[in-house]
């Protein structure tokens, strides 16, 4: 229980509220199951259980120490990278290039742990991106070289570079002492996930006209605007408690997270549609793969980070 005492008060309240909301969702599911015993609830049940795992692991690793949290996000990068390169077409000969993308993960997260911002921000887009084509040249296969290089760069960008931005939030100098370094991470992840839920709910309630029917038949204008409005408003209230942002800046952060979350979602949807698959993996029962769950975060993490960095660091 000692580590609970170390959690800054606002972050602790945020965690307790999330656990409360998830408990309510669990109870509702159980009641729903009790009243409609004839329906198949396996997926809903799996979804809720998986949420407990996700929230549980996130909170525990955030609470223990900065370094355990950084290792946790590094591990998520590894899982996301593995899942991504498993579903997309890659050339057999590029296996040893992919190996180097894996090797880039510990380096990238070491720069994070070391708070070396300059290296953190250029390591992937400068060093790794210039290194990979060179390694491919040594392999010597020129058939499909351009396409393969493009795919490798994009994969590294989304799974290593983007996700490492969540980890860098933890090592930023503390400016909101009531929330601590983990407050920023909680704000980003909670708003991103609430946004997914809100866009879904508004779409179910009022949704009619589809935004991009070719990519995702479930995305409607009502869901989109409902989500943006809800998250912008909600962020305005929560932002000042968990981050150094004031109320007005928090409205902006909410809007960025909501818009970016939508884009991340449909970008990964397009990837899956291109490959004619429904889920990117089966790691998280009821949700699909790690990319199915983190799709929005791939976009919200760097954009929220740089908005915050510009305003306060």
């Amino acid at each position: 229980m000692q580590f609970l005492a170390k959690i800054p008060s606002h972050s602790l309240y945020a965690m307790i509220i999330v656990i409360g909301l998830l408990s309510i969702a669990t109870i509702v599911t159980i009641i729903f199951k009790y009243k409609n015993p004839e329906k198949n609830h396996t997926e809903l049940k799996q979804r809720i259980i998986s949420w407990w795992w996700i929230i549980g692991l996130l909170f525990v690793f955030l609470s223990i120490s900065k370094n355990t949290a950084i290792i946790f996000f590094g591990f998520l990068s590894f899982l996301a990278l593995k899942e991504f390169i498993s579903i997309i077409p890659t050339r057999h000969i590029d296996r040893n290039v992919l190996f180097w993308v894996y090797i880039s993960i510990p380096f990238q997260y070491y720069w994070v742990a070391d708070s070396w911002y300059g290296m953190f921000i250029i390591f992937i887009p400068v060093y790794l991106f210039l290194f990979m084509p060179m390694r491919m040249v040594i392999n010597g296969a020129t058939d499909g070289f351009i396409k393969a290089a493009g795919v490798l760069h994009w994969v590294a960008m989304l799974t290593v570079f983007s996700i490492s931005h969540i980890a860098y939030l933890i090592v930023l100098p503390e400016k909101n002492l009531n929330a601590g370094p983990m407050g920023l991470v909680l704000f980003l992840i909670l708003m991103t996930e609430f946004n997914d839920v809100c866009q879904y709910l508004w779409g179910k309630l009022l949704g009619k006209d589809k935004i991009i029917p070719k990519v995702s038949p479930n995305k409607t204008w009502a869901g989109f605007f409902g989500g943006v409005a809800s998250i912008t408003l909600l962020s305005g209230f929560i932002g000042p408690t968990l981050t150094p942002l004031n109320t007005l800046e928090s409205f902006g952060a909410g809007m960025i997270i909501s818009l970016a979350g939508f884009i991340g979602d449909v970008v990964i949807s397009s990837v899956k549609r291109d490959l004619s698959i429904k889920d990117s993996g089966s790691l998280i029962p009821g949700h699909g793969g790690i990319l199915d769950r983190m799709d929005s975060l791939l976009y919200t993490a760097p954009l929220f980070f740089h908005y915050l960095y510009y305003l306060h660091y």
């Binding site: 590894f78 899982l79 593995k82 899942e83 390169i85 498993s86 579903i87 997309i88 077409p89 890659t90 057999h92 296996r95 040893n96 992919l98 190996f99 894996y102 490959l275 004619s276 698959i277 889920d279 990117s280 993996g281 089966s282 790691l283 793969g289």
Partner: protein, 213 residues
């Protein structure tokens, strides 16, 4: 003793590695035979196939899983032979000695009579990465006179990318393991081979790591 070693090897090494480093997209796992005698017929692309298939089973049952493997390869070196026989629990088959087919299969029958689950790779070889080679007929001769044994087809895809034949560099990729329905009894070898290749084609459609260019 070797059962304990097998459990330790799978509990401490194989299962964690399969979970974290490889990562399985398993579909229809409930269709795997839970008790022997039974035969699992899987496609073969990598040495990891065998380990992944065994790791799908709970530790209490893994001693029942017996991969059927080529004696000329696996018994060729001292350590490999000891490891294959005692830790993995293979049933060695002498491929070169095909004029004495019944004797060759005796060890398999003994294992099936004990209630073991045999793992067979009807392709006989790992072959080209991620390509299914021609299916061999030995599997038919094994089960033609046995009414107690069913064949469950399993499609594995992706391990040939992680650790292909002849390459030492391991690169993590998720892999698909799709389990099919047990095949109905067939009367000729060709019929069985047909059933099997149809089953593989069908199971392939559930693989998400297959590149559909």
């Amino acid at each position: 003793m070797s059962r304990v070693l097998k459990i330790l090897f799978f509990a401490l090494l194989v299962k964690p590695l399969v979970l974290v480093i490889i990562g399985l997209n398993s579909r229809f796992r409930h269709k795997l035979p839970t008790s022997g005698p039974a035969v699992i017929a899987a496609n073969h692309n990598s040495h990891l196939d065998t380990l992944v298939l065994i790791s799908l089973y709970p530790l209490a049952k893994i001693h029942r899983l017996r991969p059927v493997a080529a004696a000329d390869y696996f018994l060729s070196k001292n350590f490999l032979a000891w490891f294959s026989l005692n830790i993995i629990g293979i049933i060695p088959i002498d491929r070169k000695n095909s004029n004495n087919r019944d004797e060759m299969l005796n060890a398999c029958h003994d294992a099936l009579d004990q209630g073991d689950i045999l793992i067979l790779f009807p392709e006989g070889t790992r072959g080209e990465p991620e390509k299914t080679s021609e299916l061999k007929k030995g599997i038919y001769h094994l089960i033609k006179d046995r009414n107690d044994t069913k064949i469950t087809p399993v499609m594995i895809h992706g391990l040939g990318r992680s650790l292909p034949r002849g390459e030492a560099l391991f690169v993590p990729f998720n892999c698909d393991v799709v389990v099919g329905d047990a095949l109905p009894k067939s009367t000729t070898a060709d019929e069985l081979i047909n059933q099997l290749s149809n089953a593989y084609e069908d199971l392939k459609s559930h693989c998400i790591t297959l590149n559909r260019d």
